[in-house]
C-alpha cells in the first residue's frame, strides 16, 4: 500500500472560503487516490482496507477515486499507517508537510490568524508547488 500511494496517492490541504468561519476560511485534510476506472474494484476495496474513506467515480473523466476527508480518520488511521510503512521518494516530503498541517489543525491553530497563515504557508510549498 505504501508503494502504491507513493506513486499514485495525494496528500492535500483543502482550504475553502467560508462565511461561517471567523477567519473566512475552512481547512480540511484530504487523502486521495485516483485511478483509471478499469481498476475501480481495487480502489473500492480501499474502503475496507483502511476502514474509512469513500469511493466514487467520475464517469465523464473515466476515473475512480478513493478519498478520506474525515479529520479524525486522517489523523488516527491514514497518518499512522504511513508512519509505519514509509512513503518514499519525493512524496515523502509532501507527507511530512501534510503531517505538519495535521498537527496544527489538531491543536486548533487553524482557528487563529497566525496558525492559519502557517497552514497556508505549508500548503503553498507542497505538492506541485514544490
Amino acid at each position: 500500500m505504501a508503494g502504491f500511494v507513493t506513486g499514485e496517492g495525494c496528500f492535500f490541504i483543502k482550504t475553502s472560503k467560508s462565511k461561517t468561519h471567523k477567519l473566512g476560511m475552512s481547512v480540511a485534510l484530504n487523502f486521495i487516490v485516483v485511478q483509471n476506472i478499469r481498476d475501480a474494484y481495487l480502489l473500492e476495496s480501499f474502503v475496507q482496507f483502511f476502514g474509512c474513506g469513500s469511493f466514487s467515480t467520475v464517469e465523464k473523466s473515466g476515473i475512480g477515486r478513493f478519498a478520506v476527508s474525515n479529520f479524525s480518520h486522517v489523523v488516527e488511521i491514514v497518518i499512522p499507517l504511513f508512519e509505519e510503512f514509509a512513503i518514499l521518494g519525493a512524496k515523502a516530503k509532501d507527507f511530512e508537510d501534510f503531517k505538519e498541517a495535521a498537527e496544527l489543525v489538531k491543536s486548533k491553530a487553524h482557528l487563529n490568524k497566525e496558525g492559519l497563515d502557517k497552514i497556508l504557508l505549508v500548503k503553498s510549498r507542497m505538492n506541485f508547488k514544490r
Partner: protein, 89 residues
C-alpha cells in the same frame, strides 16, 4: 529482463496493468526462444503488441494490416490484506 519478470511473478501486480505484464512475459518468451525470427513468430509477437498498453502504433498498423490482437489476459479480482497484517512488499 528475466530478473524483472521473476520479480513481478513473485509479487504480482493488483491492477489491470497485470494483464500487460502477462503479455510482456509472453513476448519475452517468444524472444527468448528466438521464435520472433520466423514469420509466424513475428506475427505472434505483433498480435501481443497490439493488445499491450496502448496497442499498435500507426507505423505498425500499416506494416501488419492483417494482424489480429490477442485477447487480454484476465486479472484476478484483487484482494488486500487487512491494514494490520500488511507486509512490506
Amino acid at each position: 529482463m528475466a530478473r524483472v519478470i521473476e520479480h513481478f511473478s513473485k509479487y504480482p501486480l493488483k491492477t489491470q496493468k497485470y494483464a500487460d505484464f502477462l503479455l510482456f512475459k509472453r513476448a519475452f518468451d517468444i524472444l527468448y526462444i528466438k521464435e520472433h525470427l520466423t514469420e509466424a513468430g513475428l506475427q505472434k509477437l505483433i498480435s501481443i503488441r497490439a493488445s499491450l498498453n496502448k496497442g499498435l502504433s500507426e507505423r505498425l498498423e500499416v506494416a501488419f494490416p492483417n494482424n489480429t490482437p490477442v485477447s487480454r489476459p484476465q486479472v484476478p479480482k484483487p484482494t488486500l490484506e487487512s491494514n494490520r497484517s500488511e507486509d512490506k512488499h
